[in-house]
Amino acid sequence: MAHSYTPGLKVLHETKVQKDRILPLKGDVIVEAKASVTPDDIVARTHLPGNVQMINVGNLLNIDPTDVEAVMQKPIGSEFKKGELIAETKGLFGFFKSNVVAPIDCTLESISSITGQVVLRDAPIPVEVDAYIRGVVAEVVPEEGVVIETEAVFIQGIFGIGGESRGELVVVTETREDELTADMIKPEHAGKVLVGGSFISLAAYNKALSMKVAGVVVGGFNYFDLEEILGYTLGVAITGSEDLVTSLVLTEGYGEIRMGSRTFDLLKEHDGKFTSINGATQIRAGVIRPEIVIPLNPEDIKGDVHAIQINEGIQAGSLVRVIRAPYFGRIGTVVSLPPELQKMESETMVRVAEIKIDDQVMVIPRANLEMVETD
């Protein structure tokens, strides 16, 4: 049977989710294998080397670089408090001394006899990594971090902003077509993850921010409104490091696009459950999509786990979403995958798929289809 490799977003009702929780530098892992963890538990910690300040003591004291070491008050590796004397010249008969003091609490790292520079390093910066999802420590990577594993609902979005967040899932719109409007966002939604239908406006998102909502999951958002939130025009889709109280996950794209029915139904089924979301997106080689992870309670696990596996591609019968105009956002079923190239209205010659959407068969370039991977 003909099949075609097509990017797809996962909408899985039960799967084994594994998350690497790794430190940026080597450090200490503070949980043991097989331990149960909650999202806020710290699993590993380390210290990043402090920032560096360079002071040209030679210039400041008006002495030759080769003489700098002789005027330093303590040897390399010593600690200084802010304002403490670092270097001092002998002056003339003990008078007219010049000196340099430490601008910060620091350690003296090096002295250069060529340039007269001394390097001072700030105190180390502590870094901690939490578990992000509720689950079990499946693997400990010594000195680096852990792998957390859980049985969960796993949904990928197409684009998001804001990093990891968590809270109780609250579906606030009646249907997947409805817009999530500002008046639906209430003070009691603070710290929760809200699910809307087709769209959220900038005003409604701003209200979510002001109400300290943990996250918003909707079909679409206006691209040109992102600038207002981010403070810059998003030129390349690399996000996740924004400091936002409310992470935003779009399941469909930019504009008003109703949420896929399977996505909406699955989220509705788990209304009220504790959820972890991550808006981080990277659309380059090594794609990262935003995600929604809803760990399942033991009684909800049916055992028909769908392992996250390599996309096998679309074939007749596959459920697909059209991802470019003129049928953008429509979902249909693949009828056939004709092998020969076909000419589109744009005169582009492409491989196509025949898709049945609302009982009508349409011819669409395969490149403009996205597999809706469900289980």
């Binding site: 520079q117 206006n222 025009t233 080689a285 470019r324």
Partner: protein, 613 residues
């Protein structure tokens, strides 16, 4: 193999998404492209082995050519018999983000720029240029180095025998940052020092222990001379030894190839440089990709390359919109379109980068964005491709009023002989006329300029072939690269003939007389504001071009020019829009002109959307 001609050459290019293989054979008409194959690149999870994609692409070549190339997971080379194996296998790579470098120099506009030129010329992406005078405080520089994690650093500074302290200060900043390489935790970051030779000892003292330091010749031994060769070669060596060796599967791939793997843009650049040198012409080459746009040029024998890191047609399409502004994109669109809808559409292309335009409207928008991406990339290129700065010039009285000096751009559009485009939006445009129009509108060539597109983007593979150093193979491989480039790689679109000057509206600005093969004598009278296309084949056509009194075609104003011009798949395009040409600010006039030029060049189908049938 001495004495034997290479009969078959297999070359692959491992791009970030697709691995492309080409097979070249020696035929009665010299070296020709036999067939090509492609497969998804397999550097990333779940495969994490580049050779799988290479083997898949080669399997497609096997199927199409009937030649047996693979023996299990091995490439059979040299050839065993006429139907088994190939004589040579070579490859380029830009997978895994290509080669990412940081460069440093004492003075930003002098050694900093030379270091940048060396790194770009070697095919790398330059993430940042550090310089003593870049306005940043030491701790800001340190933070930046730690944040970026380059694959390697090129440090330069000072002329030989000059002051030592400035360049050592830069080395101290690097040492304080203690940078870690992007790939692999277990090796030291490669640092190339190509500055004042007098400082080598101090540099070794400062950086020798914490980095993998290489000391090479100064890239700017004296102010008047740039010596980029040794730095470029060293970058290529380190690319192989460190960066490639860390990428999944590359050790295996390296053991298969008959010549070192080159970074893709480095290979393209060296091919363009070779063609320009052999034919003694000025060339501009452009590769517009999904994330970046590379521009290569050779003017006055000097090669330059720039990478516009965030100007591309998919991953960074929104950045084109941000940098060019929506108004500048829309000025190329001959239809009314809601701005909010348009930005959302472009945003959706960014987050779903692999889609293709199905409707004509989508195609027009995409090609409008491409014009702006190319235009902006070329502005950056012109600003970078300059003569050496800081060089003292002797001036005579006659130069007293001439403002030109060091640091002037080398790019002279009137001097440009050949403009080559590649990348999906140009190579795969449904009509060749569209590719030609996009390039003319974006680059605005002046005088007489030939245009071509790289049909399937095989310049990387040809570039690496041209760089084989093995004595037994080098001569044939270079010959094959040139022959295939001429016969199979380039699709000659034709020639753009654009008089320069500010003519009166509606006046005749050029009269062209020429003889078309089989059609006899033709006379074209070009009026201001119009474009005329004459179908003509790619062969020398003797032409007399006479501009009006206020216009020039490469000589003095009004002076005739008798020369050979070449047609192509599109033919001869006479562009009477003047240079510089500007689109009307009045919307209805602008749309009317766009439609007029579009019709004249047969750019788009005649549909209702464009006011047609």
């Amino acid at each position: 193999m001495a004495g034997n001609k290479l009969k078959t050459i297999l070359a692959t290019d491992c791009g970030s998404t697709t691995t492309k293989a080409i097979l070249i054979e020696l035929t009665d008409q010299g070296y020709r492209l036999k067939t090509r194959g492609e497969a998804p690149t397999t550097v990333e999870a779940p495969f994490e082995d580049v050779t799988k994609g290479v083997l898949n692409a080669i399997m497609e070549v096997e199927e199409l050519s009937g030649l047996k190339i693979l023996d299990g997971d091995q490439i059979i080379h040299p050839m065993r018999d006429d139907s088994t194996g190939v004589d040579v296998y070579v490859s380029t790579s830009s997978a895994g983000g290509g080669l990412q470098m940081m460069v440093a120099g004492v003075v930003k506009a002098m050694t900093g720029e030379s270091a940048e030129r060396a790194a770009l010329g070697a095919g790398s992406i330059v993430m940042d240029v550090l310089a003593s005078n870049d306005g940043r405080l030491p701790h800001q520089k340190i933070e930046r180095i730690r944040q970026l994690r380059p694959d390697m650093i090129l440090l330069s500074g000072g002329i030989d025998g000059g002051t030592v302290s400035h360049v050592v200060e830069l080395a101290e900043i690097l040492a304080a940052a203690n940078p870690k390489p992007r790939l692999g935790q277990n090796y030291k970051l490669p640092v190339i020092y190509a500055g004042n030779t007098k400082a080598q000892e101090s540099i070794a003292e400062t950086l020798g222990e914490i980095t993998d330091l290489d000391l090479i010749e100064n890239i700017r031994p004296v102010l008047e001379v740039e010596n980029l060769g040794p730095a470029r070669d060293k970058i290529h060596d380190l690319f192989m030894e460190h960066v490639m060796a860390q990428a999944p599967g590359y050790k295996k791939l390296m053991s298969w190839t008959d010549a070192p793997i080159m970074p893709t843009p480095g290979a393209v650049g060296s091919l363009i440089e070779m063609v320009a040198r052999q034919e003694n012409i000025s060339v501009v080459g452009v590769d517009i990709g999904g994330a970046t746009t590379d521009i290569f040029s050779v003017f006055q024998g000097q090669f330059n390359r720039t990478v516009s890191a965030n100007l591309g047609m998919s991953y960074s399409v929104c950045n084109v919109l941000a940098e060019a502004t929506l108004d500048n994109v829309l000025r190329w669109v001959p239809i009314d379109i809601d701005e909010g809808t348009l930005t959302n559409r472009i945003g959706n292309k960014m987050i779903r980068p692999t889609t293709v335009p199905q409707s004509l409207e989508e195609l027009i928008i995409e090609q409008a964005i491409a014009r702006e991406a190319l235009r902006l990339s070329f502005i950056q290129h012109k600003a970078f491709a300059v003569s050496l700065k800081g060089v003292q010039q002797e001036r005579t009285i006659s130069d007293a009023f001439d403002q030109s000096g060091s640091g002037e751009t080398l790019v002279d559009m009137m001097d440009l002989d050949l403009l080559v485009g590649s990348g999906g939006v140009l190579s795969h445009a449904p009509r060749r006329e569209q590719a030609m129009r996009m390039m003319i509108d974006a680059f605005v060539p002046e005088g007489i300029t030939q245009l071509a597109v790289d049909s399937i983007f095989m310049m990387p593979q040809l570039g690496v072939m041209a760089n084989i150093e093995n004595d037994e193979m080098a001569e044939d491989a270079r010959k094959a690269a040139v022959e295939v480039f001429e016969k199979d790689c380039l699709i000659r679109l034709g020639t753009c003939i654009a008089p320069v000057g500010k003519p009166k509206p509606g006046s005749v600005i050029l009269t062209a007389e020429f003889e078309l093969p089989g059609e006899g004598k033709k006379v074209v009278e070009l009026k201001q504001g119009e474009i005329i296309v004459m179908p003509a084949p790619y062969e020398p056509i003797k032409a007399k071009l006479t501009p009006s009194k206020s216009m020039s075609i490469g000589k003095d104003k009004g002076e005739s020019h008798v020369t050979d011009i070449y047609g192509g798949t599109v033919g001869l395009i006479f562009d009477g829009r003047g240079r510089p040409f500007e689109l009307s600010n009045e919307k209805s006039k602008r749309i009317e002109n766009l439609n007029k030029w579009s019709k004249a060049t047969n750019e788009y189908p005649d549909t209702e959307l464009l006011g047609g049938a």
